[in-house]
């Protein structure tokens, strides 16, 4: 309990003062004023696709900024054992812009579009009177998508890479088909051998289909697979 050892000598405690009571301390603590949640929180919670969207009638055409959390799969080989851990991290800097065209009424059929075709300024877009009828691909933060993974094949640490002590993270851009299977994936960064192993594994993953107003949609997300030779502490 070293951190709890508080210096109680006379230099730390005003000699002329009696001990502050619990009530006095509570009153003092209340000087720390409360805060209100920022308006952006609502967009971050309700502006991104959930398993079921719609019904609240308050979501219009919006362009929201969301962080890029990544799924970090760690393969640790330590004393001959392979240890897996899944960490939802925030390792990638920056944000991505995700314009979502969401239905305001149950009669309208929703769709979503990829980022760059939308609002470049990142501000709230004017609600679109016309909504593209066919659902296309949407971008989903990996932290949302990862929990819906229903089948995972762990990557195999390439023996050569292990022998050479090669470690690192492979960033994959993954396109998930409407039925939850991996339609396409591309290595954005990482060692070649590790990337091959990561792609071989992740392309076999199956995700729970993402629904947008009850319709399964294609999803693009980011997966990071980290290979390390040291067991995570």
């Amino acid at each position: 309990m070293a951190m709890e050892e508080i210096d109680m000598d006379s230099s730390s405690v005003p000699r002329s003062n009696r001990t502050m009571t619990d009530e006095e301390l509570s009153a003092l603590l209340q000087k720390w004023e409360g805060v209100h949640a920022p308006a952006s929180l609502e967009a971050r919670v309700f502006g991104m696709p959930q398993r079921t969207l719609g019904g609240w009638g308050r979501m219009a055409s919006r362009s929201v900024r969301v962080p890029i959390p990544v799924v970090v799969m760690t393969v640790a080989a330590f004393l001959g054992l392979t240890v897996w851990s899944v960490v939802v991290g925030y390792n990638l800097p920056g944000t991505t812009r995700v314009p979502l065209l969401l239905s305001q009424s149950s009669a309208a059929r929703p769709s979503a579009t990829l980022a760059d075709g939308g609002n470049p300024s990142g501000s709230w877009a004017t609600p679109e009177p016309q909504i593209t009828p066919s659902p296309t691909r949407i971008q989903v933060p990996a932290s949302v998508q990862a929990i819906d993974t229903i089948f995972r094949v762990p990557p195999v640490y390439p023996p050569d890479a292990r022998a050479k002590g090669i470690e690192g993270t492979v960033i994959l851009d993954v396109i998930i088909a409407a039925d939850g299977t991996v339609k396409d994936l591309t290595a954005l960064s990482g060692d070649g051998a590790l990337a091959f192993a990561a792609i071989t594994a992740v392309q076999q993953w199956v995700f729970e289909p993402t629904l947008l107003n009850g319709e399964p949609v294609e999803v693009e997300t980011t997966v990071a697979v980290t290979f390390t030779l040291h067991e995570p502490k």
């Binding site: 005003p14 209100h36 959930q50 609240w56």
Partner: protein
Amino acid sequence: MTDLDCRNAFDEHKDSVYGFALRLTGSAAAAEDLAQDCFLELLRHPGRFDPQRGSLRAYLLGVVRNLALRRWRTERRLESLDDAPGDDRTDAMVAGVSMLVSAAVQSLPPLQREAVLLFEYEGFTLEEIAGITKTEVGAVKSRLHRARERLRLILAPLRNGDGGD
């Protein structure tokens, strides 16, 4: 819990959830991340909230607390959060009583800090805090006691009559 219930829960508890996260982490960005993840957890798994075990607010703050500690452990890899130092922000030059109190609470070890936040700012009882933090009432009482002792020392100059300067 229906979507409408989740929406109402957000409207009712967003300030409490965000405020608790902000006081817990000392970072607006981290607090917004935690609040977002907290409500996404409710949206994705509404069945995990059991009204028999406590209020919705207590459940949500418990989610924030667990997310914060998980993040803390991941980022700082601390073995004992009860003894770990808090953020070293006790800067005598910080202006304003509110900022000084903020800095003092932020300087507490995480588990003492959460006990203070839940008791002093969120108004939970010791038993409720024990439920939220999944620990014994005695442990909560101990953490609160140690936190208060520490805060008394740090905040002594702010007592009425001392002037704080």
